[in-house]
């Protein structure tokens, strides 16, 4: 969440309207007029994605119905130098689908068909607007499922998942989107249709499939995705363990892994998060404890029983305060419900909350939590912690009230400090939500100038004019110079050779 320091003088309303009309008229030759949204009421729902502090109106929203239309739209945009921002369900949390005020927003909502579900061969071919959960729902009768499960899975689309390389609770064992997508079909900015990947396990030439995953809509527009379907594990058991200190809980996480167990999910909540979740979901969490671990094990029944025995031993050796294995499927789902509703639950503690998304090496957890406590006191803003502990992905939730003058800015500043703390301990500014517009300044700290330039060169290889989702994900060096002027890192001014403003 970084404020834009270089606001461009906005053009007059008449000029904007004239451009809007000109574009709409040109595009009406390409897409049916019903697919072009241009009135302010029509544009309103598209002004932001899941990160609502940023809002911008695009000139037009296009909702094409065929791949040919997408090709024609991009060809036109490339000719006419018009920025294009692709959007799935708009659930992203980093502003990746924030519209460009001088461009068009390409909504892919109408591409919502599962084109092929091959249970025998274990894959599904789907359009980008298909919801994540809809894939698993369709595969379930065949005893299969799609593994990545971001918490927004009921609403988020697979196209957006590819753009962000989405994770989820189960990615410790089953990987991220990049590990579960076999092929994508994309349209390039010059309107070419290209299949990247296949049902084979590798492909000729450079691994552009890896590059496309997590590229935040900056390289091409995804119009079809082939995903791997896995057999549903016959058995899944959940162990809940409460600890009297966060350190003990953090330790237990490391010990489980050192013992050779890779749980399907390993989640940690601190006291504020656990208490909020309990008040919201009434799932029976021991709210007097300092930290709660949820450890899910799945596989064959024999495997799961052996692992439950092992993790119970580990937790007991780590001063566990209370330990419970969910007896029934109902109890297992109830215990998960608390965790899965942690965000809205925390949302009830304050008028607003802001979710941070950094990853750290697991061993740094005690230090990072201590530092966050200090920062919380320094900025006078409470923090609740939800943590994908297995893979080190932190989601501190900062509680604030946007109606109190200055509090939003203080929240942004605290969020930025936490992200820089993640980088300081060898982690990253974003584990799974993406950079978008939100963390673009912090990218200047995580990457040096040469690496950022290389990113820009990669972008230019796909999109020479820089029309696909411009201004997102990778900061310009000028932006970094401006940010560096505010945040001096370890006493070194980044980009000393650039002029200051």
């Amino acid at each position: 969440m970084s404020s834009n320091t270089a606001e461009i003088q906005s053009p007059s309303l008449e000029a904007v309207q004239a451009k809007r009309e000109a574009y709409a008229s040109a595009l009406s030759a390409i897409v049916p007029s019903g697919c072009i949204l241009s009135t302010s009421e029509q544009l309103k729902p598209y002004e932001s994605d899941g990160l609502t502090v940023f809002k911008r109106s695009p000139l037009l929203v296009l909702l094409p119905e065929t791949i040919e239309q997408i090709q024609a739209i991009l060809r036109w945009a490339n000719e006419a130098d018009v920025p294009v921002v692709a959007r799935g369900a708009g659930t992203g949390l980093s502003g990746g689908a924030l519209p460009h005020e001088d461009g068009i927003l390409l909504g892919l909502a109408k591409f919502n068909q599962i084109l092929e579900l091959n249970a025998e061969l274990g894959f599904a071919r789907v359009q980008p607007g298909v919801r994540n959960l809809a894939i698993s729902d369709a595969a379930r009768p065949h005893g299969l499922y799609y593994a990545p499960d971001p918490s927004s899975q009921i609403a988020c689309t697979i196209g957006g998942n590819v753009a962000e390389n989405s994770g989820g609770v189960h990615c410790l064992k089953y990987g991220l989107t990049v590990h579960n997508v076999m092929a994508v079909t994309v349209v390039t900015i010059d309107g070419e249709l290209l299949q990247i990947g296949s049902n084979a396990l590798d492909h000729a030439g450079y691994d552009l499939l890896a590059l496309l995953n997590g590229s935040e809509g900056m390289l091409a527009v995804v119009v079809e995705v082939t995903v791997k379907l896995l057999p549903t594990p016959p058995c899944a058991k959940l162990v809940m363990a409460a600890f009297n200190s966060v350190e003990d809980a953090g330790n237990a996480v490391g010990k489980v892994i050192a013992d050779g167990i890779i749980p399907a999910g390993l989640e940690l909540m601190d006291k504020p998060a656990m208490q909020a979740a309990e008040a919201f979901a009434h799932c029976g969490y021991p709210t007097e404890s300092a930290a709660l671990l949820l450890c899910e094990l799945d596989g064959l029944e024999e495997e799961v029983s052996a692992q439950i025995e092992k993790v119970t031993r580990v937790f007991n050796a780590c001063n566990v305060d209370e330990l419970r294995v969910a007896e029934s499927e109902e109890e297992r789902l109830l215990l998960w419900k608390g965790r899965k509703s942690a965000f809205p639950a925390v949302g009830r503690l304050a008028p607003d909350y802001y979710c941070i998304d950094g990853t750290i090496p697991r061993g740094q957890l005690p230090y990072v939590l201590r530092r966050m406590e200090q920062l919380s006191a320094e900025y006078e803003l409470p923090i609740a912690n939800v943590f994908h502990a297995g893979d080190g992905n932190l989601h501190p939730l900062i509680l604030f009230d946007a109606n109190i003058p200055g509090e939003t800015e203080r929240t942004e500043a605290l969020g930025s400090r936490i992200l820089l703390l993640c980088v300081e301990v060898g982690g990253t500014v974003t584990g799974e939500h993406g950079v978008g517009v939100e963390k673009i300044n912090e990218m200047c700290v995580q990457f040096d100038e040469d690496s950022l330039q290389q990113f820009h060169a990669i972008k230019a290889a796909f999109d020479p004019k820089g029309l696909l989702n411009p201004g997102k994900a990778v900061p310009t060096l000028q932006r970094c110079a401006e940010f560096g002027a505010m945040h001096v890192h370890h006493g070194n001014i980044p980009f000393p050779e650039l002029e200051r403003f």
Binding site: A200, A306, G427, T428, S451, A457, I458
Partner: protein, 375 residues
């Protein structure tokens, strides 16, 4: 294991190559010279750039310099009851940099994932002699484009690999390999059925009429799964899988590094596991449950490339000395894909300093830069 950071001298060598516009041939343990044609250029050796930069077993992450030998890396992991889950070949003198540059994964690939799946971060020198860092040392990281994974399987043509961080996993508690004689040789349909069930499979291959399935996990689970799979337990199973991984199984006799009279070429063909057997005369070995197939054949390269492409796959020649010098060794790229890949190469190595001639030679010519700039 030697601990030696040669980043500076390596950057210096690339800087020199850049200033004199002289290409380099990047070499590690020189164990995979049969993959692609070695570039006719000055050698740039990474074998002195060795050592573990960091390894914390409970983090499941190891960071090593690219010249570190596979043997020493495997030994270190084994001491901690961990492993590289993609089971890469060692080829005696191979380095981790070489394994990643060639993008090689062993029998566990269809079940555990590939080399690129386990790469978390990479330090590389690009064609502008800049040491860059992509990704990191944590499991979940979506900051910036995934340029780390892009280097896996690029055969060094995008840059000199300096250092990599990889995810590692615990060694399974128990393993069992089952062998079973098939009604029809090279028939992978039974394996495909097994793969749709929740079984702890970790390898599956077919040699002639015999199917081999490896199960890994807790002893009780493996024994339960063995009943579903059927077949007889195989003795010395670790040796068997090693021979598949290292291409040292008798099937590979008289192919790689051989001076014998057998003049048939060896091809690796990567196809969807369910693809039919290609209509090419020769002898087959199916690994990866049928998704990776080795073929010994006299058939012309064009026939092999065409039939692999037909089923959505691609082919690589493993015996360059048994095909004519102008034969492509990698499935030729064409059309929009070729243009895009060239541009990607351009973005890292505009002057084609790294390994020209080694990989897809159709990507070797520099782009018409004037027309690129025009666009």
């Amino acid at each position: 294991m030697q601990d030696q950071d040669q980043t500076e001298p390596l950057v210096e060598q690339v800087r020199h190559a850049l200033s004199t516009k002289t290409p380099v041939n990047i070499v590690g343990g020189n164990s995979k010279s049969f993959l692609g044609r070695p570039a006719q250029a000055t050698s740039l050796s990474i074998t002195g750039h060795t050592g573990v930069v960091s390894y914390e077993p409970t983090e499941l992450v190891v960071t090593v310099r690219a010249g570190t030998s596979m043997q020493s890396l495997n030994a270190l992991l084994k001491d901690n009851a961990q492993m590289l889950p993609f089971e890469p070949p060692v080829f005696n003198t191979g380095t981790i940099g070489g394994v990643l540059a060639c993008g090689l994964s062993g029998p566990a690939r269809p079940f555990a994932g590939s080399a690129r799946d386990y790469v978390l971060g990479m330090r590389v020198i690009n064609g502008q002699a800049q040491a860059l860092r992509f990704g990191g040392e944590v499991m979940k990281n979506v900051a910036g484009y995934d340029a780390a994974r892009l280097h896996v399987g690029a055969f060094g043509t995008l840059g000199v690999l300096l250092e990599t961080s990889m995810k590692v996993l615990p060694v399974p508690e128990y393993e069992l390999t089952l062998q079973h004689t098939l009604g029809n040789a090279n028939d992978s349909s039974g394996l495909i059925k097994l793969m749709r069930q929740s079984l702890p499979m970790s390898a599956a291959c077919i040699v002639g009429p015999t199917q081999y399935v490896r199960l890994s996990g807790s002893e009780s689970a493996v024994k339960a799964a063995a009943k579903t799979c059927g077949g007889e337990p195989l003795g010395k199973a670790a040796d068997f899988w090693q021979s598949i991984r290292e291409c040292s199984h008798p099937f590979f006799n008289d192919t790689i590094h051989s001076q014998s009279d057998d003049k048939r070429a060896l091809w690796r063909i990567s196809v969807p596991e369910f693809a039919p057997l290609l209509p090419v005369e020769g002898e087959w070995l199916l690994d990866w449950a049928g998704a990776q197939r080795y073929l010994k054949t006299d058939a012309p390269a064009d026939t092999i490339f065409a039939s692999a492409k037909q089923v959505g796959g691609h082919a690589t020649c493993y015996t360059p000395d048994r095909v004519s010098a102008d034969t492509a060794l990698f499935q030729p790229l064409d059309g929009v894909m070729q243009t895009l890949q060239k541009r990607v190469r351009d973005s890292f190595d505009a002057h084609r300093l790294f390994n020209p001639g080694r990989y897809h030679t159709e990507l070797d010519d520099e782009l018409n830069r004037a027309s690129a700039a025009e666009k």
